[in-house]
Symmetry: C2
Subunit: 306 residues, 2 copies
DNA sequence: GCTCCATTCTGCATTTCTGCCGAATGAGGT
DNA sequence: ACCTCATTCGGCAGAAATGCAGAATGGAGC
């Protein structure tokens, strides 16, 4: 035989051999069944050997194929070793990186993540700026930002949607015991309501609550979601909050499922120039992997898209 | 980093690391330089690591890249081992195969090849039918044929051109000493000429010689090129022969370089149905590899296409 | 200082690969 | 006996990878 034309065929060979079918292998590899079948066919053609028997029930290794499997596994083992080394290499990356977000997201997402990230990449120094102002990444004020709400618009940056951020109405558990819980928008009328101030007052969820409570006294106003959360925890009244925040407070409970129409999205914004830099990539990759967990948690409890 | 997306990137990585440039690697791999550059870029993007420094003089490994090289070489080693096993596996192929060709090609090409082939694939039984008749492969009279001349036409077969077969005029060395050597078509007039008979008389080269020698006695006629060769060796006169045959006779010498216009081609014909069968493939692959040597020898001495 | 050469990169055309869809085929369960 | 399910295979359209040609760059040799 000539030299192996495409080492990637071995990856497919292993997957098919293990799954026992091109379909199963395709699922495992995240590709189409046809692709697996074709790569096996290509490998067999290149080597002029029959590696599998085609059956209705799937692909079964021939004797020769089975003998080859062991060898292919050794190749795989070395590839895994290389991947491991690559990972180790990567953990030695160093550099400085400036991230920014608002207080709520910092508390719920970024800060917990940073703890893990520092473990994995001790030589990457991350400086976090927590502010309500949206720093201008394009001007070099920061490299990475996490933003909530509508899709951020800016030039010179790459924007990526992470997940949906459902909102709903929360109240303290002891508030619920004392005053009961509204189970629909109509029942909000009789309750004390915590409102927003400044830019916070403009948030869809906060407006929704104030409008639902039309005529009722707003007992507290705050320009910070964190503050509003604290007010709710203190049992002052109902507050509209992102589930990402409200669910993290053991003292709070949802009044009803996430409200359609008041949710936002979580966006990851990266300065275009910083995007390709290895240690920034490492940060982003880790962050995105970490956010997958947040996403899973939220989507599990979220309604459909609103 | 995620899992390695494409193991074949490692092959390119190795090639570039060794060649020191994407261009050199591309040559080694038989692909385009751009492809190498792009696969390295893809690998670096996937791993978010800089593996090479781009310079005008070429690609140079970074420190991290150099550390990875050793690992990649281990992968390669395992792939080579697998290739070896595959080859060994292949040598255990068994089966029967019928080949056919004419006497000249059998002597010059097929028989010498068969000796080597039997060593490599002891369990494949090859039956050779040497005949001037063109057996009908499509009818199952044989699986593989080697043919000389014009492109064979037939249905149900795959035809592949191996190389050009130059012809020229030969005479025995001692004939040359006794009678001199014609150095052009015009000088043939005074020499004794060996002609063909039957289908051999129709071959372009044989006709060319007889026409060049118009009026001169044809001292011998034979229906077999082998016979004509023997006659030439015996010093009877000049003979038109394919260089493939004439050059193999130490007792013969070329009168002049290959004559444009009288050459043919060597064709490999395979019965369509037999093409995919492993042991036939093994035979064909070996034969083609072997013929590359024949080709190199002939093309080295051949004129341009005629 | 000049040319020549090997190299990299970019934009475009083409080939190749991949995914998707539907049909066919058996096996297994009801 | 029939349905359902998992599987393979073929054709087709879109996507991705590849090759090609040209421009730019910088070093080596004359």
């Amino acid at each position: 035989m000539e030299r192996m034309r495409d080492w990637d065929d071995l990856r497919h060979f292993l997957a098919v051999a293990r799954a026992g079918s091109t379909l199963g292998a395709a699922r495992a590899l995240g590709v189409n069944q046809t692709t697996c079948a074709r790569r096996i066919a290509a490998l067999e053609a290149a080597t002029a050997m029959q590696l599998f028997e085609r059956r209705q029930a799937g692909y079964r290794l021939t004797e020769a194929g089975a003998r080859l499997l062991a060898l292919a596994e050794r190749v795989e083992q070395e590839v895994r070793a290389l991947e491991g080394a690559l990972e180790a290499e990567r953990r030695m990356l160093s550099g400085r990186l400036r991230a920014t977000t608002n207080e709520s997201i910092a508390n719920a997402v970024l800060t917990p993540f940073l703890a893990r990230f520092r473990e994995a990449y001790p030589r990457i120094r991350v400086e976090v700026t927590i502010t309500d102002r949206a720093l201008e990444l394009a001007r070099g004020e920061a490299d990475v930002a996490l933003r909530a709400g509508r899709q951020p618009e800016a030039v010179g940056v790459a924007v990526r949607r992470i997940c949906h951020l459902p909102w709903t109405i929360y109240c303290a558990r002891d508030y619920a015991m004392r005053h009961g819980v509204p189970t629909s928008r109509a029942e909000i009328g009789g309750h004390a309501v915590i409102g927003g101030e400044g830019s916070v007052a403009k948030i869809a969820g906060v407006r929704w609550l104030e409008e639902a409570a039309a005529g009722v006294e707003v007992v507290s106003r705050s320009g910070s979601l964190t503050n509003m959360t604290a007010a709710a925890v203190a049992g002052i009244g109902l507050a509209a909050l992102p589930c990402m925040i409200g669910d993290r407070e053991p003292a709070l409970q949802r009044c009803f499922p996430p409200v359609p129409g008041i949710g936002g999205d979580l966006w990851l914004v990266v300065r275009e120039e910083a995007r390709g830099v290895p240690h920034v990539r490492a940060f982003l990759d880790s962050l995105v992997a970490d956010l997958a967990a947040v996403r899973a948690m939220l989507e599990g409890t979220a309604p459909g898209r609103d």
